[in-house]
Symmetry: C2
Subunit: 375 residues, 2 copies
């Protein structure tokens, strides 16, 4: 970084004073020769001391967690929601979120400082201010969630992102897509979203709306989608389609889904249609963007083992040979936590950009040795 | 560039000696005050002196041209091809290409130096060596076109690219997409290809195969595509589908198409189905990548004015509101020359990377003032 030893020393002391890092003496390494002089201290992030609040607002559940640096989930709470407008209004959701955040905060270890909030939403989000432009499966249009979070939790910086984009972010940093430059992440829940990393960079689009995989048309004569169009991929592989195929009511929710999937007989064909449409849609995307890895995430990851063969054969049938040969299919390494961990990554961004402003805001001023900047 | 005046002088003299640039005294500008000292010479590329050979191999025609710096088409030849394996074999195509290149070269002005070859092909191309992996509408699989060009025209550096990628490159540098960061280029001919610029960079994919827009599935119960799958977008909006809708035989070719389009009555609905499928497919892509501009290129650009209304209403119906609001639809500013001009851009790349090696190869050595490097 081109900084001299004493500047680094001053900066590290300040961060240590704020509790962001620990300094400790490295253990002697018998495989290396002893070096002359005083050994440098090792500086590691204080993952136990600084944490963020993360939430994943899904259609049928809200999950809230305290997460440490590195993506470690420290405490978590989960609440089932009945699907429907009565419980999906932004005010109701924010009230529930507030209670859950309070409960998680009350559980935290003494001495832990919470430095930010990140929220994942199943909808199109304007990242600048957290405006939810459109979340069809919550029934939200232009909901200023970022502003509402700032009103309610003003002392903490908060950020809102699309659940699939955040799932992809987490898988790309810490999961199945680490080090891979061309990745498609499918977030299959009640709604089906997605995100892509192409050429090593997240695909954003002209206005930040890229990656709505669930609204690729797959069947012109198909069912009407909640977005208003007909035959969107979501209508064939979303949770309601899976539940219909299993003979269950569409409001069954994720626990009911898991139980029903466990009861599916080996060799059963009830889910073949879902598998076939999964594979056909993947083929279209493979032909369009030629990814190295396709991650089947969201609740669909639980269905995937039962439909893998059908999906793979539909994919092989419909994809061009060259890009078809190059794609690997996987489920998220972070499982159902991908969007939640992604929300925490978003929550860390302010701290990482300016540790002293964020940590300083919650602690006594003037402890550092370098003049403090405020954001 | 951090070079001093005398180094720049030496480099410019060398380029001028090779005929790549002209130096001339700028005219006095009466709106600006006269400055002290000798005015700097103005250096401009010698567009008239150095040219490249470009070819666009389409399914039913081959177009060959001499093109100057800046994309100016100097001479052009066009040959109609009957569609079918008898005339599509790589050896036959290369023989025709050779004759056409010879004819164009014979026409060139005295003193013109030709410095490279660029060829656009309607197929999946490995850019490194010009291997055509798959060109279903030519019936080619793993044809080493780059190698064949080097055998036949060994004295000139040659490059092969996908026609749609090259059309997009030309439109992005010199056409409708100048300065736009998120662009989809649809190349609708007998086959339907495409290319995308996303976040300001061409989309490549894991192996260079991205952008096969024509093989996005749009109708699971649709016709069998030449790629082997069913219901690819190409089967609904490719030239054969347009010709069928017009009641013409599928081997009509592009002149016949233009004549037939001119005879379509205003208000006729014969092309509505093509227009509807165009709009539905665009909607899927708009939802996936959120482009600012969608260019309808290839022969489809001639059909587009007749189907614009139907296509736009299908797009509006099937695209999500936010990305749907942001996309503009246009036809290529370079018209039918987009892929040809793109092929010339490819042909310039060696010259631009190392002018002395390329220009030196065809002229007397030792003329420059700076030691010559060879590629």
């Amino acid at each position: 970084m081109g900084l001299n030893r004493s500047t680094i020393g001053a900066l590290v002391s300040e961060l240590a004073g704020l509790g962001a890092v620990h300094e400790h003496r490295p253990e002697a390494d018998p495989s290396r020769p002893a070096t002359a002089g005083r050994p440098s201290l090792r500086v590691v992030p204080a993952a136990d001391r600084v944490q963020v609040l993360a939430a994943d607002i899904a259609v049928d559940r809200i999950v809230v967690a305290l997460i440490g640096l590195g993506g470690t989930v420290v405490t978590r709470r989960r609440r089932r929601r009945t699907i429907g407008p009565a419980s999906s209004g932004p005010a109701q959701v924010l009230a529930v979120l507030g209670e859950m955040f309070d409960a998680v905060l009350a559980d935290r270890d003494p001495g832990v400082e919470v430095v930010g909030i990140g929220v994942a939403v199943p909808g199109v989000v304007r990242s600048r201010d957290g405006l939810v432009r459109f979340a069809p499966n919550l029934g939200w249009v232009d909901v200023p969630l970022g502003e509402m979070l700032r009103d309610r939790f003003g002392h903490l910086p908060s950020r809102v992102g699309n659940d699939a984009d955040l799932g992809l972010l987490a898988e790309h940093r810490r999961g199945a897509a680490r080090g891979i430059d061309d990745v498609v992440f499918l977030a299959g829940d009640v709604g089906v979203g997605g995100g892509m990393v192409l050429g090593g960079r997240p695909l954003i689009g002209a206005g930040g709306y890229a990656g709505e995989l669930g609204h690729m048309m797959i069947r012109p004569d198909g069912r009407r989608c909640r977005c208003g169009a007909h035959g969107c991929w979501e209508t064939e592989i979303g949770l309601p389609a899976v539940l219909r195929a299993l003979g269950l009511p569409e409001d069954t929710g994720s626990e009911g889904l898991s139980e029903a999937l466990a009861r599916v007989e080996p060799g059963s064909t009830v889910l073949d249609d879902v598998g076939r449409h999964l594979g056909l849609g993947m083929a279209s995307i493979v032909n369009l963007v030629n990814p190295r890895l396709f991650i089947v995430g969201g609740l669909l990851r639980e269905v995937y083992p039962l439909i893998e063969d059908v999906a793979r054969s539909a994919l092989a049938e419909a994809a061009l040979v060259a890009p078809g040969e190059q794609v690997r299919i996987d489920v998220p390494l972070l499982g159902g936590d991908a969007s939640l961990v992604g929300a925490s990554e978003l929550a860390w961004s302010d701290l990482l950009a300016d540790p002293t402003a964020v940590l300083g805001a919650g602690t006594a001023p003037g402890r550092g040795t370098v003049p403090r900047r405020r954001a």
